[in-house]
């Protein structure tokens, strides 16, 4: 007895300390790696974005003065906007102010773009977050049930349903929802937005349909990926190992199978986000929401270059930060080796 008892305590403490250090180090490592990946991403993407104006040949003078402006007037306006300076200088200035949160002013009405986008972002983020919640929740439910009941009628039904909703573009879903639930049955308002401060019920009622329309794609992808990862994980030897150790099926599912299937599913979710941002343009158009996507569409149609650039910068920032969150969760779920780092 006395031979093993004394060394136990220090051993345990060492384990605990190592564990904490391990976790903290892992979070830092993930952050560092993500930064290493995303810094060049951000630089290149903003550069491309900024180069759009030069490529387009658009000018604030045309927007403000119309087609019959004299060359002198155009030059004056362009100088006013600083467009006569070298390209790289312009990019440098623009990038610096972007980093400070200043996206410039609109060519059309001279309003501050950051403010305009900020106004729309609340709407869009409410819808997108709600869509993600629906997508993750329903996707996990469908994927899990299909995997646990694989090769049964339930599995085939779910797989069929998922296939159907995966081929429905957001605007088709949106139209169906509007015509059936809003126009036909009158269960939801067909258009518009009410901020949460004016009543959570009204807010939810207004964002439910657009969120549903956006979520179909997420539901389909999450359910499909989760099902195949779960089925794959169940075929692994470590499941046999856990069975032989006498663990219950429930425990095996949660601590062994689900944990390993989560990684690919989260990665799918991360890749889905840019599509979600893009699809918001369409859904906001259908549901008459004055959100980020609508602003993007309007600015692009009006040829308001700084506004479009601002929209792109913000969307890239959104995608990048969402992926950062996904990576952090991934790092928590799976040890480093399995992400191929």
């Amino acid at each position: 007895m006395t031979t093993t008892a004394p060394p136990v305590t220090p051993v345990r403490r060492r384990v605990a300390v190592a564990g904490v250090r391990h976790a903290a180090g892992r979070v830092l490592a993930v952050l560092a790696r993500s930064a290493a990946v995303f810094a060049p991403v951000f630089l290149v993407a903003t550069f491309v974005t900024f180069a759009l104006r030069s490529l387009s040949g658009l000018s604030p003078a045309r927007v403000q003065l119309g087609e019959e402006a004299t060359p002198e007037a155009i030059e004056r306006v362009e100088a006013q906007w600083g467009l006569d300076r070298p390209f790289l200088t312009q990019y440098g200035d623009w990038f610096t102010s972007v980093l400070h949160g200043d996206l410039g002013t609109s060519w059309v009405n001279g309003a501050d773009i950051s403010t305009l986008i900020g106004l729309g972002l609340g709407v869009s983020l409410s819808v997108a977050t709600f869509a993600l919640i629906i997508g993750v929740f329903a996707g996990f439910l469908l994927g899990t049930v299909a995997a646990l009941r694989r090769t049964t009628v339930i599995d085939r039904t779910i797989t069929g349903f998922v296939t159907v909703i995966s081929v429905m573009p957001a605007f088709v879903v949106g139209i169906v929802l509007v015509s059936v639930l809003a126009v036909g049955l009158g269960l939801f308002p067909s258009a518009g937005y009410v901020p949460a401060e004016q009543g959570a019920g009204a807010w939810l009622a207004h964002i439910t349909l657009p969120a549903l329309a956006l979520s179909f794609d997420v539901v389909a992808d999450v359910a499909r990926q989760l099902r195949s990862s779960l089925v794959g994980a169940y075929q692994e030897n470590y499941v046999t190992g856990a069975v032989v150790r006498g663990l219950s099926p429930r425990r095996i599912f949660f601590t062994h199978v689900l944990r390993n299937a989560l990684g690919p599913t989260l990665a799918t979710l991360g890749q889905k986000f840019p599509a979600l941002v893009g699809a918001s343009v369409v859904t906001e158009w259908i549901f008459g929401l004055q959100g980020f996507g609508r602003f993007a569409n309007d600015s692009a149609q009006a040829g308001d270059v700084p506004a479009v650039q601002g929209v792109l910068v913000v969307s890239i920032a959104l995608v990048v930060s969402f992926n950062l969150v996904v990576n952090l969760v991934l790092a928590h779920v799976t040890p480093a080796s399995r992400r191929g780092v």
């Binding site: 051993v11 190992g241 779920v333 040890p335």
Partner: protein, 593 residues
């Protein structure tokens, strides 16, 4: 002091579950199983049927296992030994079922058990460990947490107590620095360490019986010796009953009291280990024992052992004197910058025509690197390599390609399935080296056919895909592919380690016959028996250095270097007793020179 101190694994008297009371004899007494002890596990004419094909696969297995006893099951792959184990554990694959006989665990018929009762039985009454331990542990959770999980679920221990006990268990399976291992993941540990972890998890709640299904297969021989020791220790100290499944007779001979020899689902011979293996009665058992004596180490304990040089081989050597391969003072480094480390140090080795040189070494000894350096796949950092008289050490990619296109050197890989393109037919794979040389397909095809006979393959295999061949057939195809260009030197990297006994013997016999054609073979293996039974000379590689080279018989019978002695002492044999733990530790501690 043994870390396996009595308090770590035998708290039997104060077991928290009195309802599953042990018979008196179950205590870790001086001799674990007296004849009157109640059996832990009893199989009576157990049959397993594949419902999908409605075929009976296992045709009646009967044995009784009392506490502290060990039963061994030997047989080639497909003999039904693993299915029998799975039937005992209640984990048969979906469409298989126990179609006859009964399995009694602790005197109770398992056929009546509900899934929930099975869950309770597994782990606490019967446990199991398998080959390829890495795949049987969850890669996303630390290994310690997986042991603690069992303790928490089965024993109801608190998180903290479970962790402490898990670390104790890791110490009990003789892992160095158990506290550290507890917090590590599967990918951070070696195969031997993982097998210990798996054993620790399997015995965490002290089951009465443990099934070890090929648990030491594919491990290095010194690691295997330690795992076998550990199992023997557990059996002796805690009265754990063992079912040892292996294709290696020596492992079973070393551990078991009783042995079952299985073939095609049938038990062809069964009895006390010594009498079955020393005086086999069934022809199949005799064949297994004979194969083992040819390609095992037992024979070398007798004066007649060793490889004979036939007149044909002698003639081939004299027709073309001089070395085919000359490696002198070879150094190889891996990695760059600070990660740069020396993998091979001052290796000197030669092979004559018609000679087989066996290269023995454990995982990480650098034996594959030596093969790859000889083949020009890894650049040497010092020393010279001469192949067929050409100094290839300084060859650039172009010169290497020119040399290779002449088909002077060929290579046979460990894994025959992966070394053949799954999309190409066997014929396509076989003619490829000739086509690369610029031979027309029309001429290449008949040349390939003439080689089939030498590797004992029939022409009807030519149009099949690799997936449709057995492992032994694939490896013989790989050997044939290496021979079609008429090479002077063939490097074989673990050519038989993925094969079972019959196929192993067949491939090794083919290799021995090749010597008469004057080809030089470098045979790399971690399996001492196959190398000793095949090679003319043996070279022992240890941590990148050749520690001993000499005639196979001399090395096996009179090893000089402590490492060679450790290797040979670790290998279990049919008749002799391998070196004990203390003896091995002493050899390990000896200075290199």
């Amino acid at each position: 002091m043994s870390p396996l101190s009595p308090d770590t694994l035998t708290p039997r008297p104060e077991r928290p579950r009195p309802e599953r009371a042990r018979p008196e004899t179950a205590r870790p007494t001086d001799d674990g199983g007296s004849p009157e002890a109640a059996p832990v596990l009893a199989l009576h004419d157990v049959r397993v049927t594949d419902r999908a094909g409605d075929r009976e696969i296992v045709h009646g297995v009967t044995f009784t296992l009392t506490p502290g006893k060990a039963v061994g099951i030997v047989g080639e792959s497909g003999s039904g030994k693993t299915l029998t184990c799975r039937a005992v554990l209640g984990i048969l694959p979906p469409h298989f079922e126990v179609s006859g006989g009964r399995v009694d665990l602790m005197g109770e018929d398992t056929a009546t058990k509900t899934p929930r009762q099975w869950t309770d039985l597994r782990g606490s009454t019967i446990g199991a460990v398998f080959q390829d331990p890495a795949s049987y542990l969850n890669p996303a959770i630390t290994v310690g947490a997986q042991i603690a999980e069992v303790l928490r679920v089965k024993r109801g221990l608190s998180r903290r107590a479970a962790r402490r006990r898990a670390v104790e268990l890791l110490a009990a399976v003789r892992l160095r620095d158990p506290g550290r291992v507890h917090g590590q993941y599967v990918h951070e540990l070696s195969g031997g360490m993982l097998q210990r972890v798996l054993i620790a998890a399997a015995v965490a709640v002290e089951p009465r019986a443990l099934i070890a299904d090929e648990a030491t297969t594919a491990l290095d021989v010194t690691v295997q010796a330690e795992i076998l020791d550990l199992l023997a220790d557990l059996r002796e100290r805690t009265g754990l009953a063992l079912v040892v499944v292996s294709h290696d007779l020596a492992v079973v001979a070393h551990l078991c009291d009783e042995v079952l020899v299985m073939r095609r689902g049938e038990v062809v011979e069964q009895g006390e280990t010594r009498s079955v293996l020393h005086h086999p009665r069934h022809p199949y058992t005799r064949l297994l024992v004979a194969e083992h004596e040819q390609y095992g180490l037992d024979r070398f304990r007798h004066p007649s052992g060793g490889v004979m040089t036939t007149p044909a081989v002698k003639a081939a050597r004299e027709a073309e004197p001089g070395a085919v391969l000359e490696v002198t003072g070879l150094d190889v480094h891996h990695g760059r910058g600070r990660a740069r480390r020396r993998v091979l140090r001052d290796v000197t080795l030669g092979i004559a025509p018609g000679e087989i040189v066996g290269l023995i070494g454990e995982t990480g000894s650098g034996k594959s690197t030596l093969a790859r350096a000889v083949l020009g796949l890894v650049p040497p950092s010092a020393g010279s390599i001469r192949v067929a008289g050409e100094d290839v050490g300084a060859y650039g990619p172009r010169q290497w390609r020119a040399l290779r296109r002449r088909g002077v050197i060929q290579y046979v890989f460990q894994d025959p399935l992966r070394s053949l393109d799954p999309d190409l037919t066997i014929e396509d794979s076989l003619v490829e080296p000739l086509l690369i040389q610029g031979v027309r397909r029309k001429e290449a095809a008949p040349r390939v056919r003439s080689f089939l006979d030498r590797v004992r393959l029939t022409p009807d295999l030519l149009e099949r895909l690799p997936a449709e061949l057995s492992g032994g057939q694939r490896q013989r195809v790989a050997v044939a592919r290496a021979l079609v260009t008429g090479p002077r030197l063939v490097v074989l990297d673990e050519p038989v380690s993925a094969l079972d006994s019959a196929n192993r013997v067949q491939v090794l016999e083919i290799l021995k016959e090749l010597r008469a054609s004057g080809v030089a073979l470098l045979l790399i293996s971690h399996d001492l028996g196959s190398v000793a039974g095949t090679a003319d000379r043996v070279a022992v590689l240890h941590r990148g250095e050749l520690v001993e080279t000499g005639a196979a018989r001399d090395i096996v019978n009179h090893p000089v270097h402590p490492y060679t002695r450790l290797l040979l002492g670790s290998a279990p044999t049919l008749r002799g007793r391998p070196a004990g733990r203390a003896e091995r530790e002493a050899l390990r501690a000896l200075p290199a020179d």
